[in-house]
Amino acid sequence: SQTIHQWPATLVQPVGSPLSLECTVEGTSNPNLYWYRQAAGRGLQLLFYSVGIGQISSEVPQNLSASRPQDRQFILSSKKLLLSDSGFYLCAWSVHKGLNPEAFFGQGTRLTVV
């Protein structure tokens, strides 16, 4: 069965510090990968998606970047965090092609920028 791992679960970082959140998927090959952000009291916003190694698309301009160095690894980064980067970050995967369009989510990372 497929599993998705996301870490760390919680993170408190000072303004201006770098960020690296990691997500890995097991039990599937060539998945589509996604990073979402959920701000307090709001819905989910898609930040980045990737359909293959090294292929990253950004949905919204922001202070963050994403990379996919391996097939089942997706990393969210920032060189200098802003207060507005605080939120709940969720990694997700879906099959690349097929009849199952749903996404499967990790447990999330609560990021607080202070």
């Binding site: 589509n32 369009p101 749903e102 999330g108």
Partner: protein, 116 residues
């Protein structure tokens, strides 16, 4: 463009009473629709999905939803609420024009409270 509207931001029910979470969608084509549940500080779990098969979809934990094209609705129901159902629920539609990457469009969410 596809979109979903969750009609209630908060719903409060007593344990053992029925649950109704309302969702309307907008789509020019037959959509793929989903309900996800999120417990506090947790990821999202898929409850059920509609992908143009049976209009009444049964999901996990006793939840079900009915796709009504004439009403453009996909309401989530459960006959009897349990305390463990207290969570946030998201209605989601797949963006049909997203090519191969399955872009999902989320509603704003409905927070369900269950009282003893």
């Amino acid at each position: 463009a596809q979109s979903v509207t969750q009609l209630d931001s908060h719903v409060s029910v007593s344990e053992g009473t029925p649950v109704l979470l309302r969702c309307n969608y907008s789509s020019s084509y037959s959509p793929s629709l989903f309900w996800y549940v999120q417990h506090p500080n947790k990821g999202l779990q898929l409850l059920l999905k509609y992908t143009s098969a049976a209009t009444l979809v049964k999901g996990i934990n006793g939840f079900e939803a009915e796709f009504k094209k004439s009403e453009t609705s996909f309401h989530l129901t459960k006959p009897s609420a349990h305390m463990s159902d207290a969570a946030e629920y998201f209605c989601v539609v797949r963006d049909l024009f997203s090519g191969g990457y399955n872009k999902l469009i989320f509603g704003a969410g409905t927070r369900l409270a269950v009282h003893p």
